[in-house]
């Protein structure tokens, strides 16, 4: 993949064609992800300081790469780390730090704001932070409960991803039916399933 643009539009087109994304938490999973039908690989655990070869490998497989800035080793969630990920040719950055979303976009990457679903009294402030951040996409966790709680969420005006505890085809379908544009999952069985 030679270019990071057009970032958000291409990301959403890939997601629409293949709504199940591979969430990678170990090196062993990468081969399975690259051999699968997924169009986007989410790196949740890795050495953030040496991502270049991994990103290149994923791009050679014609897939996009999203990196979780808050979880990878070696990086602090700040603007310099965002620039570092852009230099590594990452396509999208996930973070719970809303103030970094604009910086991610300025670097030509897709900004994904993580929204943690905890309890009613925290939803309002969480959703307000998401609205302020200007993210391209919101990822809600745990995604498996989205069918239970989507009526409690205000309309966020950005596409939703759902991740966490989505292990079966039925769970993935229920989450998509509840309004998610895609799911992120580490369950390899789902990576090759047709969710239509």
């Amino acid at each position: 993949m030679a270019s990071r643009e057009p970032a958000a539009r291409e990301f959403m087109a890939r997601l629409a064609a293949s709504p199940c994304c591979a969430a990678i938490t170990s090196g062993q999973a990468i081969d399975a992800a690259l051999a699968s039908r997924v169009a986007i690989v989410f790196i949740l655990r890795a050495d953030g300081l040496s991502l270049g070869p991994l990103v290149e490998r994923i791009h050679r497989a014609e897939k996009l790469v999203a990196v979780h800035l808050d979880l990878v080793d070696g990086l602090r969630a700040d603007r310099a780390a965002v620039r570092w990920l852009a230099r590594a040719r990452v396509d999208a950055v996930i973070s719970s730090h809303g103030q970094l979303m604009r910086a991610v976009q300025r670097e030509g990457m897709v900004a994904i704001h993580r929204l943690l679903l905890v309890r009613h009294s925290l939803l309002e402030s969480g959703c307000a932070a998401v609205s302020r951040s200007g993210a391209d996409i919101v990822e809600v966790l745990p995604g498996a409960i989205l069918p239970d709680v989507h009526s409690l969420l205000p309309h966020l005006n950005v596409p939703l991803l759902a991740g966490g505890f989505i292990r079966t085809k039925d769970e993935a379908r229920a989450v998509l039916a509840a309004g998610a544009a895609g799911v992120t999952t580490s369950s390899r069985d789902l990576w090759n399933m047709d969710l239509d």
Partner: protein, 187 residues
């Protein structure tokens, strides 16, 4: 560590200092959260039984052993929720229920939280958000130290009753508490 003297109710209703909740059902517990130290003291001195506190949400209260001692020994609160496992154990050592707060956003994080859970007599678990319990595998559920409280985003009384098949207690909004209690009585 001894078995706690406190009783764990099946239903909790959250209450902050600014919105005092009045409950007619004495079997429903009151979870004190999102309040400051003075409001916590006032609530504790009200004499209401079955009080629990979300230790991490109390303004002015530290996150250390002294804070746990104050809550349990001085204020007489018998159920302490905290995201710090060592403090949950400390509460249990003092004869209260110490409930380690586990935020279950994905299976990897849940596994790490359970690995760090001290367990043992009187040390249970609060899991948030509550509805995630139904999505946790039976093997992982079996690893969660009891008693187990489902807390957060439990939208309906029916959902609360369903969760009580997997948990020992639920935290529900005040307007749902009576319905949940009635459904439990009907079995």
């Amino acid at each position: 560590m001894t078995e706690p003297a406190a009783v764990l109710p099946a239903i909790f209703v959250p209450s902050g200092g600014r919105d005092p909740v009045r409950l007619s059902d004495p079997s429903v517990g009151l979870l004190l959260r999102d309040l400051d130290l003075f409001a916590l003291q006032t609530a504790a001195e009200s004499g209401r039984p079955l009080l629990a506190v979300d230790l991490d949400s109390v303004e002015g209260l530290g996150a250390d052993a002294a804070a746990v001692s104050f809550v349990v020994e001085r204020l007489g609160i018998g159920i302490v929720m905290t995201r710090r496992p060592a403090l949950a154990k400390r509460a249990a050592d003092l004869g209260a229920f110490g409930l380690a707060h586990v935020f279950a956003f994905d299976s990897t994080g849940l596994g790490r939280s359970l690995d760090a859970h001290p367990g043992g007599p009187g040390v249970g678990t609060v899991i948030s958000p509550g509805p995630v319990l139904t999505h946790i595998s039976p093997q992982d559920r079996a690893r969660i130290p009891r008693p187990l409280v489902a807390y957060g985003l439990i939208g309906t009384p029916e959902r609360a009753v369903a969760l009580l098949r997997l948990a020992d207690a639920v935290v529900v909004r005040a307007e749902h508490a009576a319905s949940v209690a009635a459904m439990l009585r009907r079995g």
